[in-house]
Subunit: 149 residues, 2 copies
DNA sequence: CCAATAATAGACTAAAGAGTCCGAAATCTG
DNA sequence: CAGATTTCGGACTCTTTAGTCTATTATTGG
């Protein structure tokens, strides 16, 4: 709907990483297991995130990945940008040439406002805040819903 | 981003049809030409729209398609529903199981509001109003931007 | 009825997205 | 240094979406 599968996975992992308060590296394998993401696929995604300077990575035993910067300095927007790119946000809803030069179709304004909303959602708060939100206990991320039932 | 290619085409055509105030049938070929959509592809799309009761169609000479109901009784939501379905609107942004049972992740509220916005955009106004908007002259749909330049 | 026309249906091809596999290269341990 | 471990890179397969082609059916006009 809004993000590619790779984008979704990237967000999940980065959120997971921020909320996990690990000190060292976490292996991609472990992340894949925890988040139930195909390992090799996630491998690639982490590669892109590393290249984009969002993750640090180290090979070999005791290696893995971790956030490259303090979580408070990373926005979700960076993450989706690194994976999906931001082109989609410049596109017309109807797939036409962008015609915002004063001749908008009836949907343009509404759509534009929605896009702004998404961008705001992605850039408004940083990973740190979201992680705090997670850690405060009234939110979950893992698929396994509290097995209390 | 938001709709499939087929969905985008469907919206274009239906909007075009509503604004074109044709009395009889319009051939799919003509629609495809005007909107610059692959003919055979649009053929299928119109098929689905016809099955969904949004278009009427007639074979043979002087045949073609036309809106099955007055434009004021058709919403964009019906159109995308007929083509893309509405499943995407029930999905979680992160691709997880929906967990709105009181344990929302930090993005849920924001995303939910955005989805509502899209649905409102699609269902809020009917084809007739949009067509009027088009006809009033301050909006365009065709790709060929006013060749005044 | 006959021929032309246009939608309909379904098989088919092309391209993109999602996911897998394997062979490096780097890093740690001993 | 040897061997285990883990990321990195590219090639590969599978699935879905996009787009093409062909045959069929219904309709109109002569
Ligand atoms: S005005 Fe309408 S057709 Fe043009 S870019 Fe905006 S949404 Fe698309
Ligand atoms: S709460 Fe978060 S993870 Fe759960 S369905 Fe909503 S957006 Fe998705």
């Amino acid at each position: 709907m809004l993000f590619s599968k790779a984008g979704e996975y990237g967000l999940q992992v980065v959120l997971h990483l921020a909320a996990g308060q690990h000190d060292g590296f976490v292996t991609v394998r472990e992340l894949a297991d925890r988040c139930d993401i195909p390992f090799h696929f996630l491998s690639k995604i982490c590669g892109r995130l590393a290249q984009a300077g969002i993750l640090h990575s180290s090979k070999g035993p005791a290696g893995g990945v971790c956030l490259a910067r303090p979580a408070t300095g990373i926005t979700l927007l960076e993450v989706v940008q690194a994976i999906d790119g931001l082109d989609g946000f410049d596109r017309c809803v109807l797939g036409l040439e962008p015609c915002d030069d004063g001749l908008p179709c009836p949907m343009h304004d509404h759509w534009h406002r929605l896009k702004e909303g998404v961008l705001e959602m992605l850039s408004g708060r940083n990973l740190g805040e979201l992680a705090d939100d997670l850690l405060s206990g009234n939110t979950t991320l893992n698929k396994e819903k509290t097995p209390a039932g």
